[in-house]
Every structure is written in structure tokens, then in C-alpha cells.
């Protein structure tokens, strides 16, 4: 051919147009203009320059079209072409041919031709129209034809893991590859679909971005040099020198990324880092870069070690397992990146010589590409460190601690892991508060159940909070509420035998459980979660209290306790005591329970107590305490109130023992009151009678005085006990119970009530001294009663005798005898003398009694004034209202200190 090789491109282009259109040069003017414009517009700069790659593509295309024979033929031809050195850019012509090739099976699209037709008609006649308006369809058409196939492939790439920030798109920010995607559609769609599909979007971007820098416009010289350089590099490798090339390092690094020792880079266990072997002949920069890259491998090892260890640990629990699963997923993404890098390396190996510098893997490239994964792995390794040795709720707290960071990338990653990790905890929680079921084999949940506890102690002992397992995103208050809700449900089911399904009880709809829930928990923590817990809490507690009050009449029983055990029902108590008096005077060993029970029932029937509900009366009973020698009935008698079932949760055995102690105390005080009343009665009755025995008046007077003192004392004590102790505390208790929101409140209020009563009734350990004094006072009262009885007996006897004597005298006079014989009179005189002599004895006895009594009361007063309880101090004022004792007791003279208390003296 004589045609010169070097024609200008324009001329060539024009010739091309002529040839294809089959017209003369003049006619092809606008097509030529268009062609020039397109060529000049430079819109698709990226093409791979590898001849072999293109050849492979062609072969693949042919095979795809099921033309294997042609593919073989093509290989043959290509080989021939390759052997001839005429063409410089074999790849370009091959590429062009490929792009121009048409699948014989493909139908030509009619639409575009018509569109082109219509677009054609007008401008052909009107030359003045600028052609780019004239051909609007064709330009974008070709554009879209190219972008359309690339769009779906870029869409699929957005989900590729390497540059994706969040895995499931739950809570993370918009993945950063998004802005890249529209840009990519402008990039060379025809870059080589296989390459694009292999690499992630960001990798593709970086790879293709390298291409434009070496445009075809200036390309002539460079590909040659590139080829030459690669050739020389390859030769260097196979030459077997000691020099470690970058390619070898890259290979090593890719192994190190997975934690496997490479040829030159090995793990040094002593220093716990990767080191490049010292003897390798390596430039310093390469060495440094390699070591920097090796960090990724170190991080990977750390994470891998943790997950491997944990997977062997049987007792790691659900939370830990989900944590490991999350880590696994992250590692999988990392492995995906590694596989891409590997395949790139593989490609270089396969394609052999002619790969240009631009698209090979270098350490620098690796640095850039692994930057994001490195940050991710660093975060994960830090998490792994922090979570060592923890499980369950603790683990969740540890992960939660890491979400408190300002870096949004890290925060989204950790939040994602946190939502996965806390999902089991939340499912435990929802199960617990809606069903009351706890299936926690690995002890991860913060509610612990003790299986050894029986149902009677279910409320108090069976369920406790495991404080260490409370995650840090659940407050203490919430966790207590959660415990309470589940406890109430279990209580209802087991103790109250109330099997109402939870759905009826709780109007709150149960939300579906999913990781989405867990993620929501962290974005909306204040409202939704708290609201759920509160709603469940209110409903459950309300229902529980309703059941307790209606079905088990808890409040009624509380009032019954007050009436019977705390001596609230006065008439009943009085009557009971009257009936029991003759019985209880006997020694304790002669008492029989059934006798006493019979008396109790008589008392009930005779008083207002009969109008109580039979349920309550059924529980009332007599209890005989343990008998010590020398006890009378008074010492061993006690009332009792039986409790069972749910009521026993509030009135536990301890509470009942407290009640019995208080009953004992109150009963004794009441008894003293009645004794003194009897003494008073005795006074009333016998005063008139004994006026005729004038010697007695001194004794009797003393008796009266002592009795009055005692009456005053007991009176004040009773007032104090009844009003200041019992009534006030009871009022408080009743208010609290009415306002209570859940069973815990009731139990707490009840315990406070009992504690107050016990301390105020001097029954607790700190008031032991006071109580002893009081007991001593009571003993004195009994002594007085006995003494008084003796005195009255003697007095009455004497009176009787004297009356008899008078009677006899009268009788004798009536009979006409001497009224009184001398012997009789003497006898009478002697007797009266004896009687008179016995009086001082009685007097002194009484005086001793008085003295003793007063001493005790003074001691009691001193102790009262030094006590810390205010109401006891006021009691001391009332007892000594006229300073009767103060006059006698020097210690009471000391003025009150600044705090209104007398300091205690020994």
C-alpha cells in the first residue's frame, strides 16, 4: 500500500466518515463535525492497556456467544498478530474491534434508529442549526447506553463491604461510598466489568483514577517504558538476588494481614509485633511502610484470638456469643478486602509481563486502601481489650462505655455492635416483665433466681438483683422496677394461684423483639423503654394489689391484727380477761389449750367481736408459750393469729413474733390496769365497813396512797402506749398502705410500723433497762395487791370477830346472863391486843413496799429523761407532773441540758 502512514487524524477521520456513510466528503460535513467533537470531548478516558486482557475478553465474549470454534480461531490469529511486531498498540485495535463487535444474536433496536431518523431529517436540510442541538437524542442515547449497564453494577458495589461504614444500615450514618456512585457512572463503564466486579467501589475508584493521569493523548512513549520497566523488574526477581522487591513484600504483607507469617515479615513473640527480617536487603522506607502495614495483621490476630478463645468457652453466654458473632462479621468484611487484594495480586501474576506500573499493588497503595479498615480493626481491638473476661450485662456495659466517643465513625460501629450485644439482654428483659419467665443458663441477666427458695419466701428471697450484670444503659431504678414486675407476676402465678394470662393484665402491647428494638433503645432511650417499663410496672402492681385486697383481704387482716393482737378491741379484751382471770392464776402446767380456746370463743360470742367476718375469727387462737418452772398462767398465755398464703408474705414469721411480743407487753400492762382497778374496787367496798375498826385507818390510808400513786403511773403509761405509740403509728401505716403502689411499699410500711412500735414499747434491745424497771414496777403492783388482800383479810376477819363478839354479848343479854364474862372479855382483849400488834407489822410492810416502789419509779424516771426518744421524755414529764419525785431524787434536780435532755449519769 502506498498510502502514507502518517496522515493527520482529522483527515483520517474524514475518510472514515466517508467510508462508513458511503458518501462524498461534502455530505459528511456535520457527521464529521460531530465526530470531531466526540473525539475531542474525551468523556471516557479509562481503558486498560493490556493486550492480553483484551484478548481474554474477546475470547470470553466469543465463548459467551457459544462460538468456541471462533474463539480458538481467534487465539490462533492473536498469536500470529503477536508475533508480528508491526503494530505498536495491538491492544487498542483489539479493544476497538471488541467494542465494535456485534452479537449476531442481538436484534438491532428499532427505537433508536427511528429516533435517529427523525433527529436526522431536520438538520440535514437546515445546515445553520448547530448540530449539538440537532442531535440531542443521539448524544444522550449513547451516553445512557453506556451508563445503563454500569448503573446496576455500581449499585451492587455500594453494598460491598470494604468501604461500607455500617453493616446493616441500622444506625450508622449514610455510607460514604454513596457520593462516589454517581461519579462512577461517569467513569469508564466499559473499564472492564470483570475488574469492577472484583474490586470494591472505592478500590475501583482509586484504580481507575490512576488511569486518567496517563491519557492516550500523550501515551505513545510511556507504555513502552512501562513495559520495559516491568520487564526489567521481573527479570530482577527471577535473577535470585538478595534484594527483597516490593512485590515480594506486598505478597508477604497480604499474608501478614491474615496473621500468617510471610517470608520476610514474621511475628516476633517477644516483642508482640511484626518485624521485617533484619538480614533482608531492604530500603528503609519500604521497611517502615511494611511494618506499618503489619499492624493490621497484629490487630487481626488479637481479634481472632479473642473470638477463637471464646468460641471454645462453653459458659460464655448469649451476650458474649452475640459479641463474638458481631466481631466475626467484621472480620468477614476484612477477609473480603483481603481476598480482593489477593485476586489483584493474582491478576498481576497471571497477566505476566505487561502490566503497567499504574495498576500494580504497591505498599503505598495498600496503605491507602487499608486505612479505613485499620481504623475499624483498631476500634474492634480496643473493644476486645476492654471486654476481656467479662460476660453478660457487664460485657454490654463495657461496649456501651465505648460508644461515648466523639468520632462518628467509631460511634456508629460500636453502636451497631452494642445493639447486637444487648439484644439477648433485652429479650431476657421483655420475657421477664411480660411473662415472668427467666431462662438464664449462663447467669447473664441482672435478675437472679434462687431455685432453693420455696414459695412461702418467694417474694422476699427468691429473686434478687445481680448488680454486676446491670448494663450501664439501664438505671438502677429501672432495674428495680423490672425485678419487681417479674416478681409480681411470679408471685401471682405461684402464691396467689392466679393464672390470668399476662396479656389481659397488661394493656400494653408487646412489641416485637428484634435487633431493631435494641437499636431503638439507644436512640430513644428516655421515652420508649422507660415508658414500657413504667406501664408494665403500674399495671402489674395494680393487679397484684387488687388480687391481694379482694381475694385475700390483706387490709382486713391487717386491721384484725390491730384489733386482736394489739388490743384494739377493748370490750373483747376486757371480757376475755375477766373470763380468764380465775384460770390464769393457776400454775402454768395445769392449763389446757382447749379450755382456754373455749373461753376465747365465749368471749368472742359475747362481745362485738362476733360481728367480724368468720374468716378472721377462724384465725384467732390461743397460744401457750413455753413453760418455765414457777410460771402462772399469766406468764404463758398469748393470743395468736394464723396467716398463710399470700398474707404470710406481708406478715412473715418475724413479723408475727414481733406482734406476739408486743401483745405480751400490752397484755401485761392491761393486767396491771385491771389489778389496780380491783384494788380500787376493794377500797370502795371495804371503806365503809372498816370504819368501825379505827386502828386500821392508818394502814388503810397508806394503802390508798400507794395505790393512787400506782394508778397514776399506770394511767400515764397506758395513755402513752395507746395514743402515742399505737394510734399514731397505725395511722401512718394505714395511710401508706392506702397509697401504696406495689407490694414492696406495703411490706416496707408494715415493717416500719412494727419497728416503731417495738422501740417505743421499750421492747427493743436498747431499752432493756427501761423495760426492766417497768417490769419491776409491775411486780410491785402485784405485791401491793397481795399485801392489800392480806390486810383486808385480816381486817375483815377482825371485823367479823368483833361483830361476832358483839352478837354473842347481845345474845347473852337477851338470855339474861352476863353480857360479857370476865374470861370472855379477857379473851377478847387479848385478841384485840394481838390484832393491834399486828397492825404495825402491816404498816411497816406497806412502808417498805412504798419505799421500794418509789425507788423504782425514780429510777425509771431518770432513765426516761436520759433516753433519746422524745416521746419518752414527755412521758417523764407527765409522770412527774407535780415534781413529786423530783423532790426526793437528787439526780432529777439537774437541769436539762441545751438539747432538752439530761445527760445520763451512772
Amino acid at each position: 500500500m502506498a498510502t502514507p502512514d502518517q496522515k493527520s487524524p482529522n483527515v483520517l477521520l474524514q475518510n472514515l466518515c466517508c467510508r462508513i456513510l458511503g458518501r462524498s466528503e461534502a455530505d459528511v460535513a456535520q457527521q464529521f463535525q460531530y465526530a470531531v467533537r466526540v473525539i475531542g470531548s474525551n468523556f471516557a478516558p479509562t481503558v486498560e492497556r493490556d493486550e492480553f486482557l483484551v484478548a481474554e475478553k474477546i475470547k470470553k465474549e466469543l465463548i459467551r456467544q457459544r462460538r468456541e470454534a471462533d474463539a480458538a480461531l481467534f487465539s490462533e490469529l492473536h498469536r500470529k498478530l503477536h508475533s508480528q511486531g508491526i503494530l505498536k498498540n495491538k491492544w487498542s485495535i483489539l479493544y476497538l474491534l471488541l467494542s465494535l463487535s456485534e452479537d449476531p444474536r442481538k436484534q438491532p433496536s428499532k427505537v433508536s434508529s427511528y429516533a435517529a431518523l427523525f433527529a436526522q431529517a431536520l438538520p440535514r436540510d437546515a445546515h445553520s442549526t448547530p448540530y449539538y442541538y440537532a442531535r440531542p437524542q443521539s448524544l444522550p442515547l449513547s451516553y445512557q447506553d453506556r451508563s445503563a449497564p454500569s448503573a446496576p453494577s455500581s449499585g451492587s458495589m455500594g453494598s460491598s463491604g470494604i468501604s461500607s461504614v455500617s453493616l446493616c444500615g441500622l444506625s450508622g450514618p449514610a455510607p460514604t461510598p454513596q457520593p462516589l456512585l454517581p461519579g462512577q457512572s461517569h467513569q469508564a463503564p466499559g473499564i472492564g466489568d470483570c475488574l469492577r466486579q472484583q474490586l470494591g467501589s472505592r478500590l475501583a475508584w482509586t484504580l481507575t483514577a490512576n488511569q486518567p493521569s496517563l491519557q492516550t493523548t500523550t501515551s505513545r512513549g510511556i507504555p513502552n517504558t512501562a513495559r520495559n520497566v516491568t520487564r526489567s523488574r521481573r527479570e530482577g526477581d527471577t535473577g535470585g538476588t538478595m534484594e527483597v522487591t516490593e512485590a515480594a513484600l506486598v505478597r508477604d504483607i497480604l499474608y501478614v494481614f491474615q496473621g500468617i507469617d510471610g517470608k520476610n515479615i514474621k511475628m516476633s513473640n517477644t516483642e508482640n509485633c511484626y518485624k521485617v527480617e533484619g538480614k533482608a536487603n531492604l530500603s528503609k522506607s519500604l521497611r517502615d511502610t511494611a511494618v506499618r502495614l503489619a499492624e493490621l495483621g497484629w490487630l487481626h490476630n488479637k481479634i481472632r484470638k479473642y473470638t477463637d478463645q471464646r468460641s471454645l468457652d462453653r459458659s460464655f453466654g448469649l451476650v458474649g456469643q452475640s459479641f463474638c458473632a458481631a466481631l466475626h462479621q467484621e472480620l468477614k468484611e476484612y477477609y473480603r478486602l483481603l481476598s480482593v487484594l489477593h485476586s489483584q495480586l493474582q491478576l498481576e501474576d497471571d497477566q505476566g509481563v505487561n502490566l503497567g506500573l499504574e495498576s500494580s499493588l504497591t505498599l503505598r497503595r495498600l496503605l491507602v486502601w487499608t486505612y479505613d479498615p485499620k481504623i475499624r480493626l483498631k476500634t474492634l481491638a480496643a473493644l476486645v481489650d476492654h471486654c476481656q473476661g467479662r460476660k453478660g450485662g457487664e460485657l454490654a456495659s463495657a461496649v456501651h462505655a465505648y460508644t461515648k466517643t466523639g468520632d462518628p465513625y467509631m460511634r456508629s460501629l460500636v453502636q451497631h455492635i452494642l445493639s447486637l450485644v444487648s439484644h439477648p439482654i433485652l429479650s431476657f428483659l421483655y420475657r421477664w416483665i411480660y411473662d415472668g419467665e427467666l431462662e438464664d443458663t449462663y447467669h447473664e441477666f441482672f435478675v437472679a433466681s434462687d431455685p432453693t427458695v420455696k414459695t412461702d419466701r418467694l417474694w422476699h428471697d427468691k429473686y434478687t438483683l445481680r448488680k454486676s450484670m446491670i448494663p450501664s444503659f439501664i438505671t438502677m431504678d429501672q432495674s428495680r422496677k423490672v425485678l419487681l414486675i417479674g416478681k409480681s407476676i411470679n408471685f401471682l402465678h405461684q402464691v396467689c394461684h392466679d393464672q390470668t394470662p399476662t396479656a389481659k393484665m397488661i394493656a400494653v402491647t408487646r412489641s416485637a423483639e428484634s435487633p431493631q428494638d435494641a437499636a431503638d433503645l439507644f436512640t430513644d432511650l428516655e421515652n420508649a423503654f422507660q415508658g414500657k417499663i413504667d406501664a408494665a410496672y403500674f399495671e402489674t402492681s395494680k393487679y397484684l394489689l387488687d388480687v391481694l385486697n379482694k381475694k385475700y383481704s390483706l387490709l382486713d387482716h391487717m386491721q384484725a391484727m390491730r384489733r386482736y393482737l394489739l388490743l384494739g378491741q377493748g370490750d373483747f379484751i376486757r371480757h376475755l380477761m375477766d373470763l380468764l382471770k380465775p384460770e390464769l392464776v393457776r400454775p402454768a402446767t395445769t392449763l389446757y389449750q382447749h379450755n382456754l380456746t373455749g373461753i376465747l370463743e365465749t368471749a368472742v360470742r359475747a362481745t362485738n367481736a362476733q360481728f367480724d367476718s368468720p374468716e378472721i375469727l377462724r384465725r384467732l387462737d390461743v397460744r401457750l408459750l413455753e413453760v418455765s418452772p414457777g410460771d402462772t398462767g399469766w406468764d404463758v398465755f398469748s393470743l395468736d393469729y394464723h396467716v398463710d398464703g399470700p398474707i404470710a408474705t406481708v406478715f412473715t414469721r418475724e413479723c408475727m413474733s414481733h406482734y406476739l411480743r408486743v401483745f405480751n407487753f400490752l397484755w401485761r400492762a392491761k393486767r396491771m390496769e385491771y389489778i389496780l382497778t380491783d384494788i380500787r374496787k376493794g377500797h370502795m367496798c371495804n371503806a365503809k365497813l372498816l370504819r368501825s375498826v379505827p386502828e386500821f385507818s392508818g394502814v388503810l390510808h397508806q394503802c390508798h396512797i400507794l395505790a393512787s400513786e400506782m394508778v397514776h403511773f399506770i394511767h400515764q403509761m397506758q395513755y402513752y402506749i395507746t395514743f402515742e405509740v399505737l394510734e399514731c403509728s397505725w395511722d401512718e401505716l394505714w395511710n401508706k398502705v392506702q397509697r401504696a403502689q406495689d407490694l414492696d411499699h406495703i411490706i416496707a410500711a408494715h415493717e416500719v410500723f412494727l419497728d416503731t412500735i417495738i422501740s417505743r414499747c421499750l421492747l427493743d434491745s436498747s431499752s432493756r433497762a427501761l423495760l426492766n424497771q417497768l417490769r419491776a414496777v409491775f411486780d410491785q403492783i402485784i405485791e401491793l395487791q397481795n399485801a392489800q388482800d392480806a390486810i383486808y383479810r385480816t381486817a375483815l376477819e377482825e371485823l367479823q370477830r368483833r361483830l361476832q363478839f358483839e352478837e354473842k354479848k347481845k345474845q347473852h343479854e337477851i338470855e339474861g346472863q352476863w353480857g360479857v364474862t370476865a374470861a370472855e372479855e379477857e379473851e377478847e382483849e387479848k385478841r384485840v391486843q394481838e390484832f393491834k400488834e399486828s397492825i404495825p407489822k402491816m404498816c411497816s410492810q406497806l412502808r417498805i413496799l412504798t419505799h421500794f416502789y418509789q425507788g423504782i419509779v425514780q429510777q425509771f424516771l431518770v432513765l426516761l429523761t436520759t433516753s433519746s426518744d422524745e416521746s419518752l421524755q414527755f412521758l417523764s414529764f407527765r409522770l412527774d407532773f407535780n415534781e413529786h419525785y423530783k423532790a426526793r431524787e437528787p439526780r432529777l434536780h439537774v437541769s436539762l441540758g441545751t438539747r432538752g435532755r439530761r445527760s445520763s449519769h451512772t
Binding site: 500500500m1 502512514d5 496522515k7 487524524p9 475518510n15 472514515l16 466518515c17 467510508r19 462508513i20 456513510l21 458511503g22 457527521q31 460531530y34 465526530a35 466526540v38 473525539i39 470531548s41 474525551n42 468523556f43 471516557a44 478516558p45 481503558v47 474477546i58 466469543l62 462460538r67 471462533d70 480461531l73 481467534f74 490469529l77 498478530l81 508480528q84 508491526i86 503494530l87 505498536k88 498498540n89 487498542s92 485495535i93 483489539l94 479493544y95 476497538l96 474491534l97 471488541l98 467494542s99 465494535l100 463487535s101 456485534e102 452479537d103 449476531p104 433508536s112 434508529s113 427511528y114 435517529a116 431518523l117 436526522q120 443521539s138 449513547s142 469508564a188 492516550t216 493523548t217 500523550t218
Partner: protein, 83 residues
Amino acid sequence: MASGLEARAATNMNAVRDTMDVLLEISRILNTGLDRETLSICVRLCEQGINLEALSSVIKELRKVTEALKAAENMTADFLEKF
């Protein structure tokens, strides 16, 4: 020397022809629809380093234009024939 040059030119031309034949064969296999002339122009353009994508799109467009024109001619011909 001249003969050497000529000989080399001759071998060159033979080589060129062979190359062209091979390329033509390849283009036939690939169904590109390019004839020898067009192919040679293309080769020359490629050797000069043209933007391949652009070139191929231009060729495709030109082809479409040709088809459109042919279709138009056929249609008008048919139309005219009827009447």
C-alpha cells in the same frame, strides 16, 4: 543498501499486509462489519493514540446514521412505488 532498504520495505509491506489480514480475520470473527479500508483507517487512528471509546462510539453513531438514511430511502422508495 538500496536493495536492502527495498527488501526491508518489501518485507515490511508483506508484514503489514499479513497483519492487516489477521486483523481483518479477527474483525470478521467479531462481526464488527468493518471492511478493509475502514479497518486500515481505524488502525492508523489507533496507532496515533486516539481515544478508543470515543472512536468506537463515533463509528457506531455513523452506522446508525447510515441505517437511518437507508431506512428513510427505502420508505420513501416504497411510498413512491405505491403511487
